[in-house]
Structures are given as C-alpha cells and as structure tokens.
C-alpha cells in the first residue's frame, strides 16, 4: 500500500515538474498562444523526452511570434540557428526563414545578426526564403570590414524576389562606383529606383546617381539628379551642398555662392556644414574678391571655434560611457538638452545617422515588449518565462545603446578631425593671401571649363525658354520658401 502510494506520488510530481509537450501543442493549435508559450517554456527547461527540447524551442518561438513578441521570438530562433545544420536540428531552415521575416518587420540589430552569421553553414543549406537575409547581411558585414570582393559576391547571391534585393543593389552600386565602373553603378542605382518601396530609397538612389555623375565629372547630369531631391527630404541639404561643389567645378560661381547662402541662414543654425565656409572662401578667391575671402574665413572661425571647445569637452566626458552619450543625443533630439550648446550642430548630425535611428528602433521595440510582459499571464510568471525574456530584452536594449554610443562617439571624434582639417585649410588660405601668393593658391584649385551655354536658376534647375520664373531680391531677410533658390549676381574682380 505504502509502495503504491509512493509510486503514485512520484508519477504525479513528474507530471507537474516535466512539461507536457502535447498539451502545449494543443494550446498552440487552438490559438491559445499565451498558454502554449508557458507550456513550451516548461518543456524546454524540463523535457521528458530528448527531442522535446528542440521541438519546444521552436514551439515557444512560434508562440511568442504569434503574440507579437518579435525580439523575444528571435532569441529562441537564434538558438536553433546557432546550433547549425544537423539531423537533430530539424527546425534550422524554418528558424532561419522566420528570423529573416522578423528582421523585415523589426530590425534585429547589427550585433544580433553578426552573431547569427558566425554559424558555420554551407551556403547551399540556407533555405530559399532566408537566402536574401543571409547573403545581404554577410555582404554588409564584409563591406564594413573592407572585404569588398567578398561583399560583392555575397550581394550578388541575394535573390531578386527577396525583400533584401533592393538594399543589396544599393551596395552593389556603391562598390561599382568605388571601382570606377560608373555605367554599372548607375544601372544598379536605376534598378534601386525602379524597385524602391519607399520615397527614402528613391531619394538615396537619386543622390547616389548624382554622385556617380559627379565622380565621372559629368556635373550637369549630376545636378539634374541633385535637383530631384525634394525640399522636405532629410537628404535635401546634403544634395544642395554637393550641388554647390558641382557648380564650383563648372565655374558657375554665382550658383555656388547661391547654394551656400542657404546654409548660412538662421533656419540651419543647428546643421553641421562647416565646409560651406571654405567653399565660399575659395569661390570668392576665384573671383578675386579678397575681402570676401577674409570675411568667409572670419565667419568660419567665429562659428566653429566655440564648437571645438564644447566638442572636446563632450568627448572627454563621455569617452567610455557610451550608453550615456546615446542618451545625451536622445535628449538633444527631444529638445531638452541645455548644455553643450555650441556642439548642438554635431549632435544634430549624429542623430540623423542611420545607426542612431536603427538603435532607437531596437530600443523602442525592446521597451515595448518589456512593458507588455508586465501584463503577461500568471503562468508566465510562475514558469520563469517573464524573467528570462526580461533579462534578454534589457540586455538587448543595453547592447544596442552601447554599440550605437561607441560608433556615435567615434563620429564625434571624426567631426573634430574634420573641423581641424578645415581650420588648417582656412589658415593656409589666409597665410597665402597675406603673403600675396594669390595666383599660386588659385592654381591649386584646378577647375574644368564650364558648359557656358547652360544656365541655372535656384533649386539647381536649368533655365529653359518655357520657364515661368519668379524673382525676389534678397534684402537681409530669409524666407523659408526661398531657401535653396538663391543665385548671386556677382562679377569677377580679376584683372584679365
């Protein structure tokens, strides 16, 4: 009797301790994903049968994905993928596919994907639906490690129907441009344009086509594509700046100075384009307007000398404390940063970088999932699932913030080096001017002859006979609708 009682007690406790895979499956099929997730988690930690662990990992990941916990689901998919290809790892292909799908919805983050790519797997084993995801990020990893041949090979393997195809074409265009294969580069960017899902992709394609033409010294064509970037775009100012350089190289100094005039308006006081002062100075130099050259250099120093000080203070303060630097930039973006005012232009430029935006997205989604865990069922709490997911999500958030902070501090350091280089250039120009070596200076700025017949109005647009134009004289008042439309009417003072 006692023996029977002991046996009954032991078997009862084993039912409670060991997870019930079949029950979990039933819950999943019925659509009761919360319950299914808790049960799968229990089976995963206390599998009765050996194969149950792997199956429950898959079940847990699927349940979490169905509930919209994408990052949490990616944790368990990644575990399956990192195990590599084997007979036992029957969900490898499906897990890989799901990771690709999740990454299209919520960016997994560069560090997460890099870990996945470390898995040793023969490319032929990569499932069809995940090939785009795998080869695209393999290419990106190689690209940023300067393995350009490897990157090119990887991007070429991205299938045409994949959601990563357009992004891969973009990188292939950049690689072709780096190899000076301008025609091929343009055709890649044209494909990006025709396959573009978003306006952003269209704009980036136009910007890069313009850059390829610029590299090939086809400045008129470059300006056509720069002019395609709309005024409301984040890329507009960059296009205007590069367009100013194109005008300079075409000897269209009135248009060069006109483009630069926009940058020096109060509307863009917090945008970081110090090179515009140097370009302005050398344009005036080519027009033999030496007083204006000195004024440009003076204005550059007036505006950017305080920036140096604040920027160095910032870098010294946050070196090693990368997460806090990320938070500082976030604070700036919210408009609640009152310190380091002179460095706000740099913080602005850093906050517009893709790596900041991607990290912010990762943090936002991770935080959202953490908040949702608070409302999760008691089963999740009791089983320990909440604790495990919370730990993972908090770590993911912290890693994203830290990694982005590292790159952003590096960006700030690069800004210091950039400013220093420009500062040295202005000192060189000033010194040569003082010494009267103006001709020598001008000879250094070799400019190709311009297409004299073509004329440009504001907005980098060519004037045509049918143009209906309006004309506003600038009277020391900047109007928002006039930005980008300035053209100087200035004559060269150089003696012939």
């Amino acid at each position: 009797m006692l023996r029977t009682l002991i046996l009954v007690l032991v078997s009862f406790s084993s039912q409670v301790l060991y997870g019930n895979y079949r029950a979990a499956q039933r819950d999943f099929v019925k659509g009761n994903y919360r319950k299914a997730a808790a049960r799968f988690f229990q089976v995963m930690n206390y599998p009765k049968v050996r194969g149950d662990k792997i199956k429950s990992e898959w079940g847990l990941a699927r349940s979490l994905q169905k509930l919209g916990f994408y990052y949490s689901a990616s944790k368990y998919y990644s575990v399956i993928v990192r195990r590599g290809v084997s007979k036992q790892n029957i969900f490898f292909r499906k897990a890989f596919e799901q990771l690709g799908e999740i990454n299209s919805t919520v960016n997994l983050g560069q560090s997460h994907i890099v870990q996945l790519l470390k898995t040793r797997v023969t490319p032929s084993r990569i499932p069809g639906a995940a090939r785009g995801f795998y080869f695209h990020y393999q290419g990106v990893e190689a690209f940023y490690s300067k393995g350009y041949s490897k990157a090119r090979a990887a991007f070429r393997k991205v299938p045409a129907g994949s959601s990563y195809y357009t992004k891969s074409l973009f990188y292939l265009g950049i690689l072709a441009n780096m190899d000076k294969l301008y025609g091929r580069a343009i055709s890649y960017f044209m494909k990006v344009k025709s396959n573009a899902d978003t306006e952003w992709q269209q704009e980036i394609a136009n910007l890069n086509i313009a850059r390829v033409h610029y590299e090939a010294k086809r400045y008129r064509q470059a300006l056509r594509f720069y002019a395609e970037i709309p005024r409301e775009s984040d890329n507009w100012l960059q296009a205007l700046f590069e367009g100013a350089w194109a005008f300079f190289l075409m000897k269209k100094y009135n248009n060069t100075l006109g483009n630069i005039h926009t940058f020096h308006s109060p509307f863009f006081i917090n945008r970081f384009y110090p090179e515009t002062y140097v370009l302005q100075a050398i344009t005036f130099l080519n027009l033999c307007r030496y007083d204006n050259v000195k004024l440009s250099i003076q204005n550059f120093k007036k505006r950017y000398t305080p920036v140096f000080k604040d920027l160095r203070k910032l870098i010294n303060r946050y070196r090693g404390d990368y997460s806090k630097f990320f938070v500082l930039i976030k604070k700036y973006r919210k408009g609640s940063l009152n310190s380091y005012k002179h460095a706000h232009a740099i913080l602005d430029s850093l906050s517009r970088r893709d790596l900041y935006k991607e990290a912010l997205t990762t943090i936002r989604f991770a935080t959202r999932e953490i908040d949702r865990l608070e409302d999760a069922s008691r089963m999740w709490l009791v089983s320990g699932l909440i604790d495990e997911l919370k730990t993972f999500l908090v770590k993911k958030r912290s890693v994203a913030m830290n990694n982005a902070g590292v790159k952003l501090i590096r960006g700030a350091q690069e800004s210091v080096e950039y400013l220093t280089e420009l500062y040295n250039q202005t000192r060189f120009i000033k010194a040569e001017l003082l010494l009267g070596k103006v001709d020598k200076l001008r000879s250094l700025l070799r400019v190709t002859s311009a297409e004299k017949k073509v004329r440009f109005i504001g907005g980098m647009q060519e004037i045509t006979i049918k143009s209906d134009l309006e004309f506003w004289p600038f009277e020391n008042e900047y109007w928002e609708d006039e930005l980008g439309g300035y053209v100087y009417d200035i004559v060269s003072s150089c003696k012939k």
Partner: protein, 234 residues
C-alpha cells in the same frame, strides 16, 4: 542765431540723416543676391472658375445681395479674360419704411436684379505674406475693365399717384474694378473684389410717368459691388 549755432544744427541734421536713413551709412554691397525659381502659382493657360457672394455698397435704402459666378481664362500670368453673371435679391432697409410711414416720403429705389458682363483682368502685382504661424500666403492684385449689362428695377412714384411703381430697366454698363486673390494651394484661392458698374440712366425714356419735368435727360448712377468668394483653377 549765430553762425556757429547754425553750423551745429546743419551738422546735426546731416548726421541724423546719415545714420537714420538706411543705405546712406551702411557699406555699399557690390553684388546682389536674388531668388530665381519657378513660380509657385502659374495662371497662364489655366481656367479659373469662381463663385462669390456680393453686396451692393452704395444703396441708401435697400440691401442688395447677389450670388455671382465667374469663368476667367488666363492668357498669361498677368492677363485674363472673364465672364461674370450675378443674380440678386433686394431687401428694404428700415429707414425706407420709417420715412414712408412716419413722414410720407417715398424714396426712389434702384434695385439691382442681375448682372452679366465680360472683362479684361490685368494682374500687375504678385506677392507673399508671412502669417504669425510662419505659414506663407501668396497673393496677387488685379484690376479689371469690362462691359456688360445690368438689369435693375426702378421703383418711383408716378406724378399724381401716391403709390410707387416698378419699372424694369436693363442697360449697358461699363465696369471697372480691382481685387485680390489669396492662394490656398496650387489649385484654389480665396478672392475678393470691388467693382463699379456705371449706369447711364435716361429717366424720361425708362419711366416717363414718373420723370420729373426738370429731370436731366441722362444721368449716371454708380453701383458699387463688393464680392468675396472662392475660385478653383483647372
């Protein structure tokens, strides 16, 4: 006043003039900066269709309200040809009834019933204005010169008769006007205008039974109409 004082005053005045008047004291810029860009709103070869509410301003004893519609074809950005039609409703003012009831004075009424005209519009002024919110409003100002017909109803007391009689009268009338358009978008604008319709009135021909003996043969009447409306550019 001595010479010294006089000189001091002259120097003071010149100094004030030099610093107060911009351009005199400021260093002369040797170059000009302009904005040259495609026009925000192009009217050339576009048809404007508008609807307005109008009111006659210069009638002492009545209110006249008209519903007006116009179609304008813009030949260029500054020149357009338009046709306008309006139909009105006249309501007596209280003053008229008081004069009649308390003082037995019957006043003559010229009530505008309808207007039909064509006009030439010239837009010499194009500008923009910034609101406090920072939003920009583009506008233009035009003058119009046209010719058309007006239908009026003349209410006058006949000789030897206490009750006034209605005399319908239609006449040609030249019209001059001016107005403005404020552009809400590249297709729509709010507009207002003021127009003077000049009527040549021959009392003895139009209302012979009511004409005074010493009434001049011809007299001019001005009907000043103000309109506010919206227009759509196709």
């Amino acid at each position: 006043m001595g010479n010294k004082t006089y000189c001091r005053i002259v120097v003071l005045c010149v100094g004030v003039l030099f610093f107060a008047v911009p351009g005199l004291s400021a260093p002369r810029q040797e170059y000009q900066i302009n904005v040259i860009r495609p026009k925000f709103f192009v009217k050339k070869s576009r048809t404007e269709v508008g609807a307005d509410l109008a009111a006659v301003l210069n009638q002492t004893f009545t209110y006249t309200y008209l519903l007006s519609g116009a179609i304008v074809y813009h030949l260029t950005d500054s020149l357009g040809l338009g046709v306008t039609g309006a139909y009105g409703l006249t309501v007596n003012k209280e003053d008229r009834d008081v004069l009649k009831d308390r003082f037995s004075i019957t006043v003559d009424i010229f009530a505008t019933e309808w207007i039909a005209e064509s006009s030439l519009l010239w837009t010499p002024v194009y500008g923009k204005y910034q609101l406090a919110s920072g939003r920009l409003v583009y506008f233009d100002t035009y003058v119009s010169l046209g010719f058309g017909m007006m239908g009026i109803s003349i209410r006058k007391k006949e000789r030897g008769n206490d009750d006034p009689v209605d005399y319908p009268y239609s006449c040609y009338s030249p019209v001059i006007g001016a107005g403005q358009r404020f552009y809400l978008s590249k297709k729509t604008s709010l507009r207002w205008q003021i127009r003077d319709h000049i009527i040549l009135y021959n009392g003895k021909r139009c209302a012979p039974a009511a004409a005074e003996e010493n009434e001049p043969e011809f007299s001019y009447y001005h009907t000043i109409v103000t309109q506010v409306g919206i227009s759509y550019f196709m």
